[in-house]
Symmetry: C3
Subunit: 107 residues, 3 copies
């Protein structure tokens, strides 16, 4: 049986509360196996023609290549921003046990 | 029209001041759409034959595949280290709205 | 001479002490050139059929494609968890000087 490639997804949130709620929802739904919610960070970003600064909370989600579209879609539904920044990439160089853990996600 | 693939670039700085200045410069220049400046971290690293420890501030820049070379080059010019560690990778598994946002970068 | 592609490896630890010890061991062994130990984060994760929450410390290791298997293997031996989550990916869009620095790793 082919184990799907692990995927990491990076997504900043406006604050820890919404980050934690979305993390719980995705893990409980089996669309991510883990969410690492980092401590508050500062963001500098371009939006609607101007440069802004603000505090955000970054989250790194662990999922797999088969579930990534549904994971990203559900994450954007759960997210408080109209247009959240959600970036995902494959992690083929992972520990076999990690690949099995993420591959077992039911979603 | 082909939207370029989103790219994330990871780069540690010696402290928050230079990290913020470089972040603003790259976003204002249209070479990155966003910079996430993480809180202080500890680094253990090999340099000139010895192992060192020190505090650093890590930044995650969001750009796209068409601009990444110019973004990385400008980042290394802005950076206070003689030889900054700059690592970039493509994020093809991203939300379409995120790809459009990063794809619109003029650079 | 072909310089191997840089690789980043993300791995959460239960706390800073074991994260620092593993970081020093991998850098001293020449299996990683640098370890960025981020400040404490919160993790939400699925394990043995239940959803758990807990504090962790994330580390981002810099190595190269030729050493990544031995780096990941040694990391899992050093790690206090029975089954650590270890995810690695290639970073081909890096500064040439960074590629040379990581390419020089002896391992």
């Amino acid at each position: 049986m082919n184990v799907p490639v692990p995927v990491l997804v990076w997504c900043p949130f406006p604050e820890a509360g919404s980050a934690k709620a979305a993390s719980r929802a995705l893990v409980e739904a089996g669309l991510a196996a883990c969410a690492n919610i980092l401590p508050a960070m500062e963001s500098v970003y371009a939006w609607q023609g101007a440069v802004h600064e603000g505090a955000e909370v970054g989250v790194l989600f662990k999922t797999n290549a088969d579930l990534r579209e549904r994971c990203i879609e559900r994450l954007s539904e759960l997210h408080p921003y109209e247009e959240p920044a959600i970036l995902g990439w494959e992690c083929p160089l992972s520990l076999p046990a990690t690949m099995a853990w993420l591959g077992a996600l039911k979603g």
